[in-house]
């Protein structure tokens, strides 16, 4: 057995590589080095040893599938490292942060009720909303509780549930095109 792949797997391998190449940009080596030299001792955040226990030993596996009405939200936490996904009307959506997304109340229509139990977000309600003019099988939103943030800053007012190929491009009208937090595809420059 060697590393040769079938044609189908070769294609998939190529696409994994393409995704990594398209999702990142070459960095300026001088900038990288300058930053590294600027923080040679503070950059590496040591953690208490007890936090380094093998994840398997402390992982809590929570598979929560709650069906209320027509919506089922599935939260998976395997070592907390699996990315969150949601199932709505039997379709799987990826949970996505969209910090600068904003939509007027009348652009949102209640799509289905759901129950969310800790996905790392605090929600303002139990409803998933469709967005005016956007196919709900592609994108839905959920309202976040106020003033939530993570290491990168405020999370904004909504969390997106995204499915399908067009991603944020479908909802550029609801982003501030001048904001740095706006997806590149929706920015003016």
């Amino acid at each position: 057995m060697d590393d040769r792949l079938s044609a189908v797997d070769q294609d998939l391998a190529y696409r994994i590589k393409a995704l990594a190449f398209q999702g990142t940009y070459p960095r300026d080596p001088v900038t990288v080095v300058d930053k590294a030299f600027a923080r040679p001792t503070a950059g590496w955040r040591g953690r208490p040893r007890w936090l380094r226990l093998p994840a398997a030993a402390v992982a809590v596996v929570i598979v929560l599938a709650v069906s209320v009405g027509t919506v089922e939200v599935l939260t998976k936490q395997f070592e907390s490292s699996q990315l969150a996904s949601a199932r709505v009307k039997n379709l799987d959506y990826t949970v996505a942060v969209a910090r600068s997304f904003d939509a007027p109340v009348d652009a949102l229509t209640r799509y289905a009720e759901t129950t969310i139990v800790d996905q790392g977000f605090a929600f303002a309600g139990l409803a998933a909303y469709s967005i005016r003019g956007v196919d709900p099988s592609q994108i839905l939103v959920m309202k976040l509780a106020p003033d939530q943030r993570d290491d990168a800053g405020p999370l904004g007012s909504y969390i997106l549930l995204v499915r399908g190929p067009d991603g944020f491009a479908l909802i550029c009208a609801y982003f501030d095109p001048a904001s740095e937090a706006t997806p590149r595809v929706c920015r003016t420059s």
């Binding site: 057995m1 060697d2 590393d3 792949l5 189908v8 797997d9 998939l12 391998a13 190529y14 696409r15 994994i16 590589k17 393409a18 995704l19 990594a20 190449f21 398209q22 999702g23 990142t24 940009y25 070459p26 960095r27 990288v32 080095v33 930053k35 590294a36 030299f37 923080r39 001792t41 950059g43 590496w44 955040r45 936490q77 395997f78 070592e79 907390s80 490292s81 699996q82 990315l83 969150a84 996904s85 799987d92 990826t94 949970v95 996505a96 942060v97 969209a98 977000f121 993570d150 290491d151 990168a152 190929p165 067009d166 991603g167 944020f168 491009a169 706006t182 997806p183 590149r184 595809v185």
Partner: protein
């Protein structure tokens, strides 16, 4: 490579720059597949460089420096991914500006979502093999498994991804 490592230990900026030029892109791409987010990926790679400066590894084989950097970066990407645990930041993973082929962009979006449903360890394995292009035998040594074990796991992951993409 030993000369470069000696240079790093001596705080030689030119030596570090040479290493960054050689390896940084692989580090960022590996972290991107693991963490699902460009900013987190760059942070993870940056921390690997900072750690290299702070405490250069004592490697019997200086040729293993890249493997060391990959390990540090992957660990950081896993940890930052856990801290954020926010789902795929699609603006990084799926924005199509660099692909002019709509079908390609659509396929990558689906693939990003399918990858997001794998564990971080599985994403690391696939990234090492297909992004960093590390042979299975080296991956086995790198991750502490046999070459056959690495190949089998990669094969199963590809099968799972294919099924996910087909069913999706």
């Amino acid at each position: 490579m030993k000369a470069l490592l000696d240079g790093v230990a001596a705080g030689d900026r030119a030596a570090v720059t040479q290493l960054v030029e050689a390896f940084d892109q692989d580090l960022v791409r590996l972290a991107f597949v693991i963490a699902g987010n460009r900013e987190l990926a760059e942070d993870s790679a940056q921390k690997a460089w900072e750690r290299l400066l702070r405490k250069p590894p004592a490697l019997r084989d200086p040729g293993k420096l890249k493997a060391w950097l990959l390990t540090v970066t992957a660990n950081e990407a896993r940890q930052t991914g856990r801290r954020h645990r926010r789902g795929l930041e699609l603006e990084s993973a799926t924005t199509p500006p660099r692909s002019t082929d709509p079908e390609m962009s659509a396929g990558l979006m689906d693939l990003a979502n399918a990858l997001a449903r794998l564990s971080a360890d599985d994403r690391e394995l696939l990234a090492l093999r297909f992004v960093v292009e590390m042979p299975s035998a080296d991956i086995g040594a790198h991750l502490g498994m046999s070459p056959e074990g690495a190949r089998t796991r990669i094969h199963r992951l590809l099968q799972r991804l294919r099924k996910d993409l087909t069913d999706g």
